[in-house]
């Protein structure tokens, strides 16, 4: 019933959107207010229908109705509320719905604020994109063709060939598959929604550009579109930042950026949108670049749809750490992409002849030229990234079945372009606020250049930079920071609301500094012996048993419990044990890794990396572990580490394997037959090592009389404490020792006490040693050898990650100030 209603409301929204689009089209052509009003109602109705459908989807998720495929596939009944809510956008279908919801909210804003002649066409195109998006979740079948995939389809509909469903179509599983453990993160709650806000907002400049072409009003549209484009830009940047930070602090990807297709998918639209912002700004100021503004506005949205296609059609399956399987939307996505591209560029070229073009070319040293060139740089960077991301398609020109390009391809092409762009930001800003010729510009730039040189030299000396390329990079980045700071300083004193551009450009320079420092000077934390080994590998001196040269270095830090290691003469690192955190995830361990300064002076800190079994994929006999890194953030450098292995994890794996072997009935290996027995003597207050445990004998205890035989003459318990070495929790064990009289003879009664969690292992209190007040114990089933407790870490020092974040924040702040500035102006105009 709910499924039927859900589908009904989605398709009602779909139909309303189609009708609204028709109405807006008529309004745009004939300027009939009646049609505008009706369409607005239909648009609102579409929103209401979709809101109800979303409410229903959320309802079936929250009430665990596993007969729905979507609910079964992305949730389970033990999921916390916040992750149940995030499961709404955990799959493609729900995330499409979220995207449309945001788009509708934006449509309401456009309805209110957009004026004639643009508002008809703008709303028409916005509704058109919503029709395409709604078609992805419609789920209607027309003959053999299925339009989209509904989030409300049942298990039987989703898997028509499953035999158990054929025999019993009403089968409902008891529990769902659950959300992937890696997605159970607070970041999952905010990263996708913000991304879709960005996607939805980036539709607006496209709509305005199309409206401009339709209505042949090529100038004023940028005033309206600018705040929206800036907003889309901030949203995308925030989403990119959150994604990068998520990847860095909770997924063990090792960094904030990996040129993964999914990351690129949000980055390219941002670059093109930013290029569009540049051309829109000069179009506003100087009435040039009309063509470029339209083209970038179109391309930014096309990029969003193209990257949506790449990431959701299954075409990138081999090249991404994320994974995408075809939902059967391939052809629909192609149509969507084709439509926005052909309509956009088609209308552009249809109108091309009458588009205003510039009479005389801009001089090289003019704000028009510099800003336009800056936009081109952003465009070229975007182009390089699109090319790399499209390798599964474009690469076929070169080879069959192409692989993604090496990461160096991206770095080698984008970084030089970024260097040029950095220099241009300063020239552009100095020319933007004042018309200058070469001479006055040179005079104006004298001090910034001088300070830049000093800063660069200082950085080169302090950072011991040897590479010429890095030096040029540093020079450009410092130039951007310092040059734009000078501009900002001047602007703050005149009109603070104008500093958006300068501030963003400072952010860009800071970001470049951060990128260089954090990627070029990333360092593994290794101890001396490993370093020597790696150096030998580099020299080609290490060979394996067969005499072949080894080429792979070791990048691990191995620590034994409470045995510190000195690293780089800077840190003394100690593994201090672990804590079981069952309440967060069953079986989760939190390790304590203490860092102290090697010379003993300065601050010490403890990092707590975690290891946990993945609930969604572990079984009793085969535990799949996942890790959660810990990062110590600092102004100068971050220390990033995660646990690659530990004695605890190894032991749990062994136990799981043994248990599995036993269940299969072939446990009778020679080893298992002879349970290990050891006898130990332990004094009062002493602690001894037994296998993987520490055993402490605290004191004697009075025995509880009720359990004893009547004829007992001596009865005492030992108060023992058993700790898994390294763990900070222990179990009390109280074995009994008693002597009773039977048939005139003394008998001992001392039952073995089994160790909680280890069914095979037990401790028996065999006698009291009168000589020293200690006791004798017989321990069964625990390894006689003392096991070392260890942890294997991947630890890195990442300098100046904080600078990367700082640059990103400055960019966000700059763009946000610009939103206010342009919005403010628009509001004043409309009143």
């Amino acid at each position: 019933m709910i499924g039927f209603l859900g589908d009904l409301f989605i398709n009602a929204a779909f139909v309303s959107a189609i009708l609204a689009a028709i109405g807006y089209f008529i309004y745009a052509q004939n300027d009939t207010n009646k049609h505008f009003k009706i369409s607005n109602w239909l648009f609102g109705l579409q929103g209401v229908f979709l809101l109800i459908a979303s409410g229903l989807l959320l309802y079936v998720i929250l009430t665990h109705q596993f007969n729905f495929y979507y609910v079964y596939n992305y949730t389970s009944s033990d999921l916390q509320l916040k992750y149940l809510i995030s499961a709404f956008w955990g799959g493609q279908e729900g995330s499409f719905m979220l995207w449309i919801l945001f788009s509708i909210i934006i449509g309401l804003g456009l309805m209110k604020w957009t004026r004639k002649p643009y508002r008809g066409p703008v709303l028409f195109f916005l509704t058109l994109t919503q029709i395409f998006l709604l078609s992805m979740v419609s789920g209607i079948s027309i003959g053999d063709f299925q339009l989209g995939a509904s989030p409300f389809r049942s298990l039987a509909e989703a898997m028509p060939n499953a035999p158990f469903l054929q025999s019993n179509p009403d089968f409902v599983p008891q529990d769902g598959k659950g959300l992937n453990d890696l997605l159970k993160s607070p970041w999952m709650m905010i990263h996708p929604p913000i991304l879709f806000v960005g996607f939805a907002m980036m539709t607006v400049p496209y709509c305005f550009a199309m409206a401009a072409l339709w209505k042949r009003k090529y100038n004023e549209w940028v005033d309206h579109a600018l705040p929206w484009t800036l907003g889309a830009n901030v949203a995308l940047l925030t989403a990119i930042f959150l994604g990068g930070y998520w990847a860095y602090v909770t997924l063990s990807f090792g960094g904030y950026w990996a040129w993964d297709p999914v990351e690129n998918a949000s980055f390219v639209p941002w670059l093109l949108g930013t290029a569009g912002i540049h051309t829109m700004i000069i179009q506003r100021k100087s009435s040039t670049s009309q063509k470029a503004s339209i083209i970038f506005a179109i391309l930014a949205y096309v990029a969003i749809v193209y990257e949506t296609f790449l990431t959701r059609s299954g075409i990138l399956a081999d090249s991404s750490v994320h994974s995408f399987v075809d939902l059967g939307l391939y052809s629909q996505l192609v149509v969507f992409m084709g439509a926005v591209t052909i309509i956009g560029l088609g209308l552009f070229f249809y109108r091309y002849k009458e588009l205003p073009s510039q009479e005389n070319e801009s001089k090289f040293l003019s704000r028009e030229f510099m800003t336009f060139a800056g936009a081109m740089m952003l465009f070229l960077i975007g182009l390089v990234i699109i090319l790399g991301t499209s390798s599964p398609i474009i690469g076929r020109l070169f080879v069959e079945n192409p692989t993604p390009p090496e990461v160096s391809f991206y770095n080698e092409w984008t970084m030089p372009l970024a260097i040029i762009a950095a220099i241009m930001t300063v020239l552009g800003q100095f020319l933007f606020w004042k018309r200058q010729d070469a001479e006055s510009l040179a005079a104006d730039l004298l001090w910034p250049v001088a300070i830049t040189c000093v800063a660069t030299l200082a950085t080169i000396i302090i950072g011991d930079v040897r590479d010429i390329y890095y030096m040029v990079f540093l020079l450009a980045a410092w130039f951007a920071v310092i040059g734009n700071s000078v501009i900002m300083y001047r602007l703050v004193r005149q009109k603070p609301l104008l500093i958006g551009g300068a501030l963003s450009h400072i952010g860009f320079g800071v970001l470049l500094l951060g990128i260089l420092a954090s990627s070029a000077y990333n360092e593994m934390l290794l101890d001396e012996s490993v370093k020597k080994y790696n150096a030998a590998i580099e020299r080609g001196e290490v060979t394996d048993e067969q005499g072949f040269q080894k080429t792979q270095k070791v990048d691990f830090l191995e620590l034994k419990l409470n045995q510190p290691k000195i690293i780089d003469d800077r840190y003394k690192v100690t593994y201090e044990g672990y804590t079981l955190k069952d309440q967060e995830r069953p079986g989760q361990q939190e390790y304590r890794i203490k860092f102290e300064p090697a010379d003993g002076e300065g601050e010490q800190f403890v990092l707590n990396p975690q290891v946990y079994p993945m609930l969604s994929s572990s079984s009793q006999s085969d535990i799949q572990w996942s890790v959660d890194p810990d990062v110590r953030t600092g102004l100068m450098s971050d220390i990033y580490l995660y646990v690659a292995g530990s004695s605890f994890v190894e032991r749990r794996n062994d136990e799981a394997k043994e248990a599995a072997a036993k269940r299969r009935g072939n446990a009778s290996t020679a080893e298992d037959d002879s349970v290990q027995v050891q006898e130990v003597n332990i004094g009062r207050g002493e602690t001894i090592k037994v296998g993987a445990f520490d055993l402490t004998f605290n004191d004697y205890e009075e025995a509880d009389d009720q359990q004893l035989q009547d004829s007992t003459i001596v009865a005492v318990r030992a108060n023992l404490e058993l700790t898994q070495r390294g763990s900070d929790s222990s179990v009390p064990i109280r074995p009994l020792f008693s002597i009773y009289v039977k048939d005139g003879e003394n008998w001992t009664y001392a039952p073995p006490i089994s160790i909680p969690g280890y069914d095979e292992a037990s401790i028996q209190f065999t006698s009291v040693d009168p000589s020293n007040g200690g006791i004798d114990l017989k321990i069964r089933g625990i390894d006689t050898q003392v096991e070392d407790q260890w942890v294997l870490l991947v630890a890195e020092e990442k300098p100046f990650i904080s600078i990367v974040w700082l640059g990103t924040f400055l960019l966000m702040a700059g763009f946000s100030i610009s939103i206010f500035r342009h919005w403010d102006r628009e509001r004043k105009k409309s009143t």
């Binding site: 994320h322 995408f324 080698e412 080429t551 990048d555 690659a644 991947v794």
Partner: protein, 133 residues
């Protein structure tokens, strides 16, 4: 034609051809283990062969496993990093590295995992059945 236009066209053509040339060089094609011999940075697609021993060795500090490529060749793969988070879950692996002496030394490894945008395949679904009933 104006000289500026000519310079512009040359610049665009130059940039594009250099970019495409470099792009062509930085991509390669997926190969099987036999073809990977003698290649640097070979990409091999395949599946984890779970019938063989696998695991991380504390002694060599390497993760090793057997992988079957798409043409059915099974080789040992050595990866000098810890076992990736969801290795067992992956239904497809891409290893990037060199073949040496019958062993593939992977410098990088990608996993195609059932994650955010995935559907349950039926086999997996059925496997989950017994514990449900």
């Amino acid at each position: 034609m104006k000289p500026k236009l000519i310079i512009g066209i040359i610049a665009i053509v130059g940039f594009t051809s250099l970019l495409m040339y470099n792009f062509g060089n930085s991509i390669s094609t997926y190969v099987n283990f036999e073809q990977a011999a003698g290649m640097e940075g070979a990409h091999v697609v395949g599946q984890w062969d779970d019938s063989e021993e696998y695991g991380f060795s504390m002694e060599t500090k390497q993760f090793s496993f057997y992988m079957e490529d798409e043409d059915g060749n099974v080789r040992r793969v050595v990866y000098p990093k810890p076992k990736p988070n969801n290795f067992e879950e992956a239904d497809q692996l891409v290893v990037i590295g060199e073949m040496q002496n019958g062993v593939f030394y992977a410098n990088d490894m990608l996993m195609k995992c059932p994650s955010k945008y995935n559907n349950a395949d039926e086999a997996e679904f059925q496997k989950a059945m017994p514990s449900k009933s």
